[in-house]
């Protein structure tokens, strides 16, 4: 997994340390620490993982192993408007794949990437629990139901000038 170079500021360092401390710097709390850290920074670049490893007194390899194991953790920053397409079974059988292809085409990015201007990122997730509205697309927290390939343009238009 590639990562971008980040220079952590003093306050960032302190924030990470503070999060680790709130879990008593316990190794067993690693996943909780990573959740909180990602909640704050939006993603978990290598530089952040190094600090976490140090604070919890474990190897960076172990932290990296956990970060890359779980799909919820990301080492790349998300776009300003993160787009997630549900590829759960219910959405799949109702045509989620066509919707996904259309988003890829319109944005010119692949799943897991962020557009060059940093505006949109594309990801897939499995079932958001709104199968009645399949196929489902999320932009940030907003849910769009019964999306068709033709409807993709309309959704993107909403965010064009934002």
């Amino acid at each position: 997994m590639s990562s971008i170079k980040v220079k952590l500021k003093e306050q960032d360092l302190n924030k990470i340390k503070e999060i680790c401390k709130s879990f008593n710097n316990e190794e067993g709390e690693l996943i909780n620490v990573l959740h909180k850290t990602q909640e704050h920074f939006g993603y978990l670049p290598a530089e952040i993982q190094e600090v976490v490893a140090q604070e919890l007194n474990m190897s960076v390899a172990k932290v990296y192993g956990v970060v890359t194991f779980y799909s919820f953790f990301t080492m790349l920053p998300k776009g300003k408007f993160p787009i997630s397409i549900c590829t759960g079974t219910a959405c799949y059988v109702r045509g989620a794949d066509n919707v996904l292809q259309e988003f890829k085409r319109q944005l010119g990015i692949e799943v897991g990437e962020t557009s060059e201007d940093g505006k949109y990122s594309l990801s897939c997730l499995r079932c958001v629990g709104a199968c009645g509205l399949a196929p489902v697309v999320l932009v940030g927290d907003k849910t769009y139901g019964r999306v068709s390939a033709e409807g993709v343009k309309e959704i993107l238009a909403e965010y064009q000038d934002k």
Partner: protein, 597 residues
């Protein structure tokens, strides 16, 4: 719940919230206030009603009126007509698809008639964020009964007697599991609730946690009492923010009322629960993986034995049960094992919750007695196939299950029958497919999922599933040969036999069951280079029918990649090298001049 004359219950499940049920609650409250009725009518946001297809739902109590597809703008009319004038708003009532008559209340809807609600008994009836409402419906009385009248052994015996089997997929007898955990001595033991719900397209557990969180908390405390544990852990996916929020509120309220903590109901019994978050890994639903994940490690499975009941979380005896399994416990304690074991089939007692989805008219959450047939579920409760299409298959058991067909429709659903038919119960996802769904592509979809989710620890699963996927991919591209089908089958058996955990041991099931039931469809892809369902894009070709084309240019204008050429009033041409087979032209053409071959 006595002060008010009427209640407006608004569905607050994830699906309905995605369709603005928040603003519906707000508008209803506002309208009531302008009419000065806020002290007579209460607006409540409840858990899922189950009828997700026609959400958002607003239900009026006590008359059970069931309004569907309500929009925030409809609120004024509901208050003015129904509440003030006492006339139902006909256009919002559910319309019987057969005779087009409006049905006034939920009791008369086919969707609800055959259902029996045990695990979902409170979903859609109470405000999940208010413990008083749970208590008003007998909440925490089962815990009280256990602590004051029953010994831990009595509790285990009751659960054993009830015949309850685990709802997380395996169907292991719950009472037996509790008994083993109770017998293993240790200074600390743990009660774990598995709320990882990894099956994509299933939302039973989330709906229970969103709609009735206390039912799970109470059952975990009862389990703790029966096995001598003082600590509980709920492992829940971080992707379920609403369920997490409601669990947190429920935990706080339970502690405040002394229903969790050091001296529960003044009996000296101690029990408390913590939440642990998953981070998006399907294999973490497997109990040994789940335990490693809770310990902060990569969620990789380990060989059983030792079972969690012997050596689980932090090496201590641990009981892992699924959310829905727990949701049945209090009902069994309150109403008795002999009430529960009269429902269902000989070897599968009680009910099962299913998330009904796909190409079916009534997508939603249902609970039916074990032994109900697939036909009853799909055609009576589910209302049949969408858009009058033909039923082709129903997939149960998620990525570990199989596709069942027409010939299985009259099979009574229970753990053993589904296994015998080549599928499994799984956690309760039920995805219905019609004639437009390609079964090879469906098998490929599941393998894509397992390849992505295999943790990589054992080679049969890590490498084998990848090879299976590649073979299926070749078939859907029309590049395979008949021998590949035998290769596919052989490899399926090897992976099933040699994988470390349940993931690899079951991942070939979608392939095996489709090979068994849809052999001809595989063959068509290989020998005729055709996808009978018309789903596999590599085998499709869009063409213009010369006689029908009037040269209106509509297709050329809608084509996103400029693959269509032709002058006005001339026959158009689709360049197969550019065409991405999106189907936009076919949809736009008014003259049936574009066909798929």
């Amino acid at each position: 719940m006595t002060k008010y004359k009427m209640y407006l219950l608004v569905c607050g499940g994830t699906g309905c919230r995605a369709s603005a049920s928040d603003s519906i609650v707000e508008n209803l409250k506002q309208e009531l206030e302008t009419k000065g009725l806020q002290d007579e009518v209460q607006v409540l946001m409840t858990g899922c009603f189950g009828f997700c297809e026609k959400g958002p739902i607003v239900k009026v109590q006590p008359d059970n009126t069931f309004y569907t597809q309500v929009k925030p703008e409809d609120c004024a009319e509901i208050i003015e007509e129904h509440i003030v004038k006492g006339r139902k708003v006909n256009r919002l009532l559910y319309e019987d698809p057969e005779n087009k008559k409006h049905i006034e209340d939920s009791k008369h809807m086919n969707f609800y008639k055959k259902q029996i609600r045990i695990a979902l008994r409170n979903c859609g009836f109470i405000d999940p964020e208010n413990v008083d409402e749970y208590i008003a419906r007998d909440g925490y009385s089962a815990l009280g009964k256990c602590l004051s009248e029953l010994t831990p052994k009595d509790v285990v015996d009751q659960i054993k007697e009830s015949g309850l089997r685990g709802r997380g997929g395996g169907g292991f007898p719950t009472g037996l599991k509790w008994e083993i955990a109770a017998k293993n001595e240790a200074d600390q033991k743990y009660v774990v609730c598995n709320a990882d719900e990894g099956d994509p397209g299933a939302f039973m557990d989330r709906s229970i946690l969103e709609g009735d969180p206390h039912a799970v908390l109470e059952a975990m405390a009862i389990c703790g009492y029966s096995m001598g544990a003082t600590k509980g852990l709920i492992y829940i996916r971080a992707e379920y923010p609403l369920a997490i929020k409601r669990l947190k509120i429920a935990l706080e309220q339970a502690r405040e009322y002394g229903l969790l903590g050091t001296d529960i109901l003044g009996t000296g019994f101690e029990f408390d629960i913590e939440i642990r978050y998953g981070a998006g890994a399907f294999v973490c639903g497997e109990e040994t993986s789940l335990i490693h994940s809770m310990e902060g490690l990569r969620g990789e499975p380990t060989i059983k034995p030792p079972y969690p009941a012997e050596k689980g979380y932090l090496g201590k005896p641990t009981n892992v049960n699924n959310v829905e399994t727990y949701a049945n416990i209090t009902a069994i304690i309150n109403k008795g094992a002999n009430w529960f074991n009269k429902i269902g089939t000989e070897k599968s007692k009680g009910t099962k919750v299913f998330a009904l989805a796909g190409k079916i008219n009534n997508v939603g959450l249902i609970e039916v007695p074990m032994g109900t047939t697939l036909r009853e579920v799909i055609f009576e409760i589910g209302g049949g196939i969408k858009d009058g299409k033909k039923f082709k298959a129903v997939q149960t058991g998620g990525p570990s299950g199989g596709c069942l067909t027409e010939k299985h429709l009259d099979t009574p659903i229970d753990f053993d029958n589904l296994l015998a038919a080549g599928s499994m119960m799984g956690s309760g996802g039920m995805i219905v497919m019609d004639e437009d769904n390609c079964m090879v592509a469906t098998a490929k979809f599941y393998l894509d999922f397992t390849v992505e989710e295999s943790c990589g620890k054992c080679s049969p699963c890590r490498i084998g599933n990848k090879r299976l996927y590649e073979l299926l991919d070749r078939i859907t591209q029309g590049k395979a040969e008949m021998e590949d089908l035998q290769r596919l089958r052989n490899m399926c058996y090897v992976i099933k036999d040699t994988s470390l955990c349940g993931l690899g041991q079951t991942s070939p099931n979608p392939i095996l069951s489709t090979l068994d039931n849809f052999w001809d469809e595989y063959v068509a892809h290989i020998t005729d280079h055709k996808c009978p369902a018309g789903q596999c894009k590599d085998l499709m070709k869009y063409e213009v029918v010369e006689e029908n084309c009037v040269g209106c240019t509509a297709c050329a204008r809608v084509c996103p990649v400029g693959a269509i050429s032709g002058d006005k009033k001339q026959t158009h041409y689709i360049d197969p090298a550019i065409c991405i087979k999106c189907g936009a032209c076919e949809e736009r053409c008014k003259f049936d001049a574009i066909i798929v071959k």
